[in-house]
């Protein structure tokens, strides 16, 4: 018992110095206490997730290629622009979304839709960069992407795991930029496999033996002369090898998840990414981006959008549910967005082309008031009619929900201060109260 208490205290203090032992029971979810028979590990997990909720986190579901708003969040049944897609009711009376997203429709109580997004960038790379950084690309300044800002301001430098994980290949999504490589995403190509290069090429014992030899070689080298590059190198290697050896690495292993949970997420690659995102957030990672694509439906928009919605619907909806059940949704912002929308006009190949003038995004968690729609477009979805929301407004809202100051200025390489977000205003209606 003493051992348990001791560890409990260690965990308590290392994660949040404000907590005291007697507050432990108060922090446990009621359900866990009711279960009564929790073993040490489950109690630890329960406490860890409770402690985790002290800190804000964010999951960005990136819809690469530009999803059609007509086939997802802003259907226009009965109008020529709407095409063959019909609308279905959601859990919130008065809000309808496209037929291809039934699970998301059931989760509408937690979701805030913005149907009045608009920008001027209609090319994939430029629009992706814009949505990720709030700026249009320039040669002289590499603007940090959302995840890098979040890692920079909310990340835990002592963590064994990276603060910013990107699952799937995101094109033109930016990186740490002027904040430096420490804030680049840790990229996972395939959520069904161990992340690249995180398993030692040998047994753990031999890996440790190699690290120890390397340490001695560096010691010997440094005894002759103190060199900055060696110091920096040892720091990075220290962090990388701690990560390889960390028990938290199991967060990347979705195979450890109970079959029931896996089934709820579904089987698509995006589903695996969402499940990994939840495991990572639960373990203390601050920002996870999960990519789904390709939504660039210049041809066969209707069948392809239906198929893509099929890959995204269940995982998105169950991710919200799963976060909620673990008490993480209140502190975790979930954003669903792509680089732009698609044209009201249906082209001769039954496709829709790029359209930044009016498109939709979805937000949930972290104080977002679900069950509401912000902004409207005209009956044909050609233009924004009410409450236009620009990219800077959206980014301010995202950062605002995470308690990040959008006006903070970081220095660029040529000594020019660059604000986290340039201009724009927080969309107040997004939040409750």
């Amino acid at each position: 018992m003493h051992y348990h208490v001791h560890n409990q205290l260690n965990v308590t203090f290392s994660r949040d110095g404000q907590l005291r032992r007697r507050s432990f029971l108060r922090c446990l979810p009621a359900a866990a206490l009711a279960a009564g028979s929790l073993d040490w590990r489950s109690r630890l997990a329960a406490q860890a997730s409770q402690l985790r909720t002290k800190k804000k986190a964010c999951i960005l579901l990136w819809m690469q290629g530009g999803p059609s708003q007509f086939e997802t969040l802003s259907p226009k049944p009965g109008h020529a622009s709407g095409g063959e897609t019909s609308a279905i009711a959601t859990s919130v009376p008065g809000i309808q979304i496209a037929e291809h997203l039934p699970a998301v429709a059931s989760a509408m109580d937690d979701i805030c839709l913005i149907r009045s997004m608009n920008s001027k960038e209609g090319s994939h790379p430029r629009a992706s960069y814009l949505m990720h950084t709030g700026y249009i690309p320039t040669a002289s300044i590499k603007h940090p992407t959302i995840g890098s800002h979040v890692a920079h301001q909310l990340g835990n430098p002592e963590s064994d795991l990276p603060d910013f994980v990107r699952i799937g290949r995101v094109r033109s999504g930016g990186g740490g930029g002027l904040l430096g490589v420490n804030y680049d995403p840790f990229v996972i190509n395939n959520a069904n496999r161990t992340p690249d290069n995180t398993a030692p090429g040998t047994s753990t014992d031999r890996y440790l033996r190699r690290l120890s030899l390397l340490g001695q070689l560096h010691d010997e080298y440094e005894s002759a002369e103190q060199r900055q590059e060696v110091k920096d190198h040892r720091k990075v290697y220290g962090k990388a090898s701690r990560m390889v050896l960390s028990s938290n690495m199991k967060a990347f292993d979705i195979a450890q998840e109970p079959a029931g949970i896996r089934q709820q997420y579904g089987t698509s690659e995006f589903a695996a990414g969402c499940l990994m995102a939840r495991r990572l957030i639960e373990t203390g990672v601050t920002f996870v981006e999960v990519a789904a694509g390709n939504w660039d439906t210049h041809q066969d928009n209707f069948s392809r959008s239906a198929e893509l919605c099929g890959q995204v619907d269940k995982p998105f909806a169950f991710l919200l549910e799963d976060l909620k059940q673990r008490g993480l949704l209140e502190q975790t912002l979930v954003v669903w967005m792509g680089e732009f929308g698609r044209t009201p006009r249906i082209n001769p190949r039954a496709g829709r082309d790029h359209y930044p003038r009016a498109y939709s995004v979805a937000l949930a968690g972290a104080g977002v008031r679900g069950g509401q729609v912000i902004g409207t477009t005209d009956p044909g979805g050609v233009g924004v009619e009410d409450r236009p929301v620009g990219v800077s407004d959206l980014l301010r809202t995202i950062f605002g929900s995470l308690d990040i100051d959008s006006d903070l200025e970081n220095m660029s390489g040529v000594g020019r201060p660059i604000a986290v977000v340039d201009g724009g205003e927080l969309v107040k209606e997004v939040f409750s109260g």
């Binding site: 430029r126 002289s140 990276p162 290069n197 090429g201 560096h218 990075v236």
Partner: protein, 513 residues
Amino acid sequence: MSISVRSSLVLSVVLLPGFLLTPADLPAQSTATDVARQVDQLIAEEIGGESAAQISSDEVFLRRAFLDLVGEPPTSNDLLAFSLDTRADKRAKLVKQLLADDGYGTNWGRYWRDVIMFRRTEDRAILSQPALEEFLVTEFNANTPWNSIARQLITATGNVRENGQTGLIMAQGGRPEDTVAEISRIFMGIQIQCAQCHDHPTDRWTREQFHQLVAFFPRVAVRPTMMGNARSFAVIEKPELKGTLMQPVFFATGQQLQTGVLDKDRRETLSSWITSPENSWCAKALVNRLWSELVGEGFYEPVDDIGPDRDCSAPRTLDLLCNELTAHDYDIKWLMETILLTRTYQLESRNRRSLDELPFQANCPQRLRSDQLFNSLLAVFDIEDVVSDRPAAYGPAMRQGRGAPRLLFNSMFGFDPSTRRDEIGGSIPQALAMMNSPFINQQINAQHGQMLAPLLAEVNDDRQLVEELYIRVLSRQELRVCLDFRRGINSRSEAFEDILWALLNHAEFIHRK
């Protein structure tokens, strides 16, 4: 001609600012050796201080010169031959030899490819990268003068997969503002783009001057095209159209074109004005950049933000090199040779100086660029580069992480070479790849790799084998720690696999001293 006569000629050039030498004016041009000596003297005069650093050892110099010039480390034979060479001018001979090697153009072509491509604002420009690299490699090996390379990059048209010189314009999607800003940054070291939206906060350029510069690039555009069945882009212009709105004025010299000049003549004019000897920024930007790459510290930092209101750490030295470069008709190999022959370059390396210390008192260690590091791995493992006939890993191949090993490696280890080198740190994914990647672990393996098995069989003496591995990986010798380690392990092959692993992950391996 005796050395003293030649030095006095050099001095006369230095002492007569504005007097421009053309090759015809001189019976022979001042040699790299002479100018290198002048540079060292001038640095001593301008900066003062007696450097505590010694001239680098042969081992350090050899590895440094190989990596700097041809982008790969010396072999053990190179090291042996160089150590045994007793000629007083062996360093100068080595420099000449490396500059004549094709590896020189490959190395510096890739360097400039990165200078251009890391600042791309059009991601699809990656399609043009192989052609750009090929163009640059060829030009650098042919030692085409810098002004001619610049002119080709500024005035290019055509299919971006075929005409590599279109790479710079393609990297900015042909947008005039972005392209002109890059031309100014790369060829003159001036960041005029800040004046795009407002007058420059720290420099004297105005918004109007920026837009007058942009007027040299009207109606240049990038359009999708096909090359066989492959998607590509073409840089196009409408040569016979006349711009009427904004008068093109070159901010650096004040030279102006009338409105109404044909589009095709505008770019030609801009390129010749930028590279003309009257525009001193062009030589300054090149000298500053190459000096910074080689000595490890620039006259101005970062290398692409040099003026006009920035402080230069040794203005007379920089002027000397610039005047000589112009007199040598922008001969890049001559400039490289000159810098490598200076004592300043050949000094031992020391930590980057703090602000209160004097500049150029030592060489400064450099992190290897991705291609240099990849070449070093190939050299250690005795394997050939896999050359892909794929145009570029773009589209599905890139999304799925496929492509030639070098491209994948570069995507992880590459960095923008214009960034201040002390701001470029190693990353965790890089450390993970060096420690754990299947590629490296397979090569280290005594059974599967091609390198260690024959060595284990041929070299029975542990001491000799440690020496061999040290020289291969770090171009130097050291025994104690590895021999002690070897004695503690039963399996000889496992012990040496571990030693090789540790040497490859040593900080020294990914830097040049």
